[in-house]
């Protein structure tokens, strides 16, 4: 493999990692605060992608601009998900919670199939086929845009979680639900916000992704498994862990893809996952957890 190809793999891997991170942080945020694994995460991404597609095809809105419209919609869907489903799921055993979100995921896929058929829909703008040359490396314009917006959003989220009272409250609830409640924090309100932000991040990711890829009812599933690997790698519920996990998965996948056949390359993130879980079962960024 020549150096040029290797550099191409690194740059593409980084661009993908930024998108993966954006998808994974929402998942990890919801888990961190509520201790619920949302298997329907990918389907909310799919909804956001359809929203981005229809904003472009029906209203002529550029997907980048559509983010401003789609994000509030996804945030509202997040709070509805909390008050309609998750609120009740909090009281039942974990296995039932999984069944609920898994069922939701299938429900959304089938509803999308009925509503939009199984066909792929594409956002076809001139820039979808344009590339930017960075020395020997070519990055697609849309990937570059997506990468930039993801990183900006991730940085903002990080600052909000670390530096504001809102972030402090969220982290407090994540650390100890009862402790936070005793300190007078409105735990239900925090849950609702965690869902709003966790699902809302997909409102940014969806329009960006649909301009790079395509959308069909099953597109969310392509990312759900990856998001889980990333989140578990970094440590469930850990924000910086998700970033690190995304970086590892994005780069590993891309570099392995340049070296090996695609099937071998696809297994590499899982091999890394197993190796890391063997040495650090709590994930890379989680300190050993209290019972």
């Amino acid at each position: 493999m020549s150096l040029d190809i290797f550099l191409q793999a690194i740059v593409s891997g980084l661009a993908n990692a930024a998108m993966y991170a954006l998808i994974a942080v929402g998942l990890t945020l919801v888990f961190g605060v509520m201790r619920i694994i949302n298997f329907a995460h990918g389907e909310f991404l799919m909804i956001a992608m359809y929203a981005g597609y229809f904003a472009w095809s029906l209203l002529g809105i550029d997907p980048i601009v559509a983010i401003v419209l789609v994000t509030p919609v996804l945030m509202i869907l997040g709070t509805l998900l909390y008050s309609g489903v998750m609120r009740f799921a909090l009281r039942v055993p974990e296995i039932n919670q999984m069944a609920v979100t898994l069922g939701l995921s299938m429900l959304f896929q089938h509803l999308a199939l009925v509503a939009f058929t199984g066909d792929n829909m594409l956002v076809t703008q001139a820039r979808a086929v344009a590339g930017v040359e960075l020395g020997p490396v070519v990055v697609q314009v849309n990937q570059l845009i997506a990468c930039g917006i993801s990183m900006a959003l991730l940085a903002t989220l990080y600052l909000v979680l670390q530096r504001t009272d809102f972030g402090l409250i969220m982290r407090a609830v994540a650390q100890s639900r009862d402790g936070a409640a005793l300190s007078g924090i409105d735990v239900t309100g925090v849950y609702k916000w965690a869902m709003a932000v966790g699902i809302g991040t997909l409102g940014v990711a969806g329009p960006l992704l649909v301009s790079i890829l395509y959308v069909n009812p099953h597109v969310g599933a392509l990312f759900t498994l990856k998001a889980f690997v990333i989140v578990i790698l970094g440590g469930l519920g850990n924000f910086t862990g998700a970033l690190l996990g995304a970086l590892i998965v994005g780069l590993a996948e891309s570099i392995a893809g340049a070296w090996f056949s695609a099937s071998v390359a696809a297994a590499v993130p899982f091999v890394i996952l197993i190796l890391i879980l063997l040495t650090r079962p709590e994930g890379l960024m989680n300190r050993s957890r209290r019972a």
């Binding site: 190809i5 593409s12 089938h110 070519v138």
Partner: protein
């Protein structure tokens, strides 16, 4: 006397009820799951054939019996397909089975049919071994996957004959059973026809990014790129190639390459070739009829797999008619003897629909090209709807 009349009436009633008992045909299709859109199209084609058969008075050889389709969802999953095949045969007592889209689902399902001694016509799966296992009840209307290499080789040499310089050919395929099987055929078949393969790249279905693969393909300097994948991956790959400002001629494989999704890409796919098993503009009377009827019924153009599903449905009905029996074993025997060189089942691009000793229909592929934002058949010239466009 009244009693006698009642008996006679009852006898007449039961006789007619018996005569009207339909010929049951089971269809295995992915109604839900990853390939649901394809399943929906297959079912439409099966239903169109049945509608035509029944509207024409049913099956004459079975006293005008109507055809009844029993459609089962495989969910695109092998184990679900196998169970559905078992249920259709054992419980619903179908006379024959049709299906089951992907090879991975078809193979376990047809094993069930073989065990229960019920004919199974494979409509679209291309894995070679399906008709190489000496199975007695398995037939296939679609060509073997490896035949694509033979036809692509002939087409490349046809292009060379037209003065097109094609020296280096590269392969890009999805690294699953489908892509591996077809590209193995290319790697084996093309060098024998004097075509040099200079590089190959693989990717997983559903990859969100193929920049690295595109860069490596560009580095091979190939002037023709053979692509084997599903249409969603092809969109990602073609965009990545365009971003690299690398514009080889491309020839995609299968129905995925003659797919409406692709036309959404506009000028980027203009001139692209596709090797496909059937096209709605083939110059054959049966094709013309089918394309019109399908368009009238569903408001869209049929894809190649729809034509195969339609031909297979007609083949069963015509075999039942010729053999005057709905018994699965007799039906198998009449399928073997079938030779349809005219009529609705003759819409595929060979002289006649017929099954050889292994159950295989000897049918070639055709080459399509995107001309003016439409898919047009350009080769072989005998069935071509329009002539090749070489401006690049």
């Amino acid at each position: 006397m009244l009693a006698q009349l009642a008996v006679a009436l009852a006898a007449a009633f039961f006789a007619s009820a018996h005569a009207a008992e339909p010929l049951k045909i089971g269809v295995l299709a992915p109604i839900t799951g990853a390939t649901a859109a394809d399943g929906a199209r297959l079912v439409k084609a099966h239903q169109l054939a049945v509608k035509e058969i029944n509207a024409g008075g049913g099956i004459a050889g079975l006293e005008g019996a109507k055809v009844e389709l029993l459609i089962a969802d495989t969910q695109s999953k092998p184990e679900v397909g196998r169970h559905a095949a078992e249920r259709l045969i054992a419980r619903d007592e179908v006379s024959a089975l049709l299906g089951a889209w992907a090879s991975a689902v078809t193979m376990p399902s047809m094993q069930v049919a073989e065990r229960y001694r019920t004919p199974f016509i494979v409509t679209s799966a291309v894995t070679d071994s399906i008709t190489e296992r000496n199975l007695q009840f398995v037939f296939r209307v679609s060509p073997k996957g490896s035949w694509a290499a033979r036809d692509v080789g002939s087409f490349i040499n046809y292009l060379r004959g037209k003065g097109v310089a094609i020296d280096k050919v590269a392969l890009a395929y999805e690294d699953g059973p489908f892509g591996q099987a077809v590209s193995k055929g290319y790697k084996k078949g093309l060098p024998a026809q004097g075509i040099h393969i200079v590089g190959e790249e693989t990717f997983r279905t559903g990859s969100p990014d193929m920049s690295t693969q595109a860069a490596k393909l560009k580095a091979t300097g190939a002037d023709l790129l053979l692509i084997v994948c599903y249409v969603d991956d092809e969109v990602v790959l073609l965009r990545a190639l365009a971003a690299q400002r690398y514009k080889p001629r491309v020839l995609g494989y299968g129905g995925g390459h003659v797919h409406p999704t692709l036309l959404q890409l506009g000028p980027m796919v203009e001139g692209a070739f596709g090797i496909v098993e059937w096209m709605p503009d083939l110059k054959k009377a049966a094709t013309e009829h089918f394309a019109e009827a399908y368009q009238a019924a569903y408001g869209e153009m049929p894809l190649s797999n729809a034509a195969q599903a339609y031909a297979a449905t007609w083949a069963i009905a015509l075999a039942a008619d010729a053999g005057r029996s709905r018994d699965p074993i007799k039906l198998r025997d009449s399928l073997r003897a079938l030779r349809l060189d005219s009529g609705p089942a003759s819409l595929l691009p060979n002289d006649a629909l017929a099954f050889d000793a292994a159950g295989q229909n000897n049918v070639g592929n055709v080459i399509s090209q995107v001309i003016g934002g439409r898919f047009v058949t350009i080769w072989p010239e005998a069935v071509a709807g329009q002539s090749l466009r070489l401006a690049h």
